[in-house]
Symmetry: C2
DNA sequence: ACCGATTACGAAACACGTAACGATG
DNA sequence: CATCGTTACGTGTTTCGTAATCGGT
């Protein structure tokens, strides 16, 4: 796998499900700016455009769709593992 | 899913496959110290001990085993996605 | 004008390497 | 005493929030 920042993928995944940076930012407890920067950097690292910036939010490119679908699956698997480890499954720990 | 640093999970995954921090560090182009720190932090975040520190390397706890298995699956899925995106397989696996 | 995304930039958090240390065979 | 893991510490890098800005409807 490429040397891609997995955390950025998680951010992208949330953005993809919302089709909107603002909402994604809220869910992630981040600012819009931070989310935008992260997505942009991810696209640069991958060398692929994942989002189509529209006037009224964002939509996914075909590459973005594939990436999103894969992330959902991958995160689901990891989630299962954490549950079996005995974790609270959705703990949010804001950075600040 | 928990707010776990996915990059730390990747490091853990490599450590798990080698049962040895030193080798994992080499493969990841990191120092032993960095790997040790990352694993430790991951364990703290998860609230679970993943590795049993032996005198001559490390072995996995049951939780560690589950975590490792899940990571392998998850990474495989993501890998597939990146291939379908048209990646130039920039994997850190130099022919060795 | 409104709404949403982007960008610049200073501040904070993070991850790293080094190196000294501890433990074990 | 050689090897492997840990810890402390200083430093460079990453990521963040803020706020100004751009773009479309």
């Amino acid at each position: 796998m490429k040397n891609v920042n997995l955390n950025a993928l998680r951010v992208f995944s949330v953005v993809a499900t919302h089709g909107n940076l603002q909402r994604a930012a809220e869910e992630l407890n981040l600012s819009r700016g931070a989310v935008s920067q992260r997505i942009k950097q991810l696209e640069i690292e991958l060398g692929v455009v994942l989002l189509v910036r529209g006037a009224r939010g964002v939509s996914l490119t075909p590459e973005g769709e594939r990436c999103h679908a894969a992330m959902e699956d991958a995160l689901a698997i990891l989630d299962t593992a954490f549950v079996s480890i005995g974790e609270d499954s959705d703990r949010v720990t804001p950075r600040k």
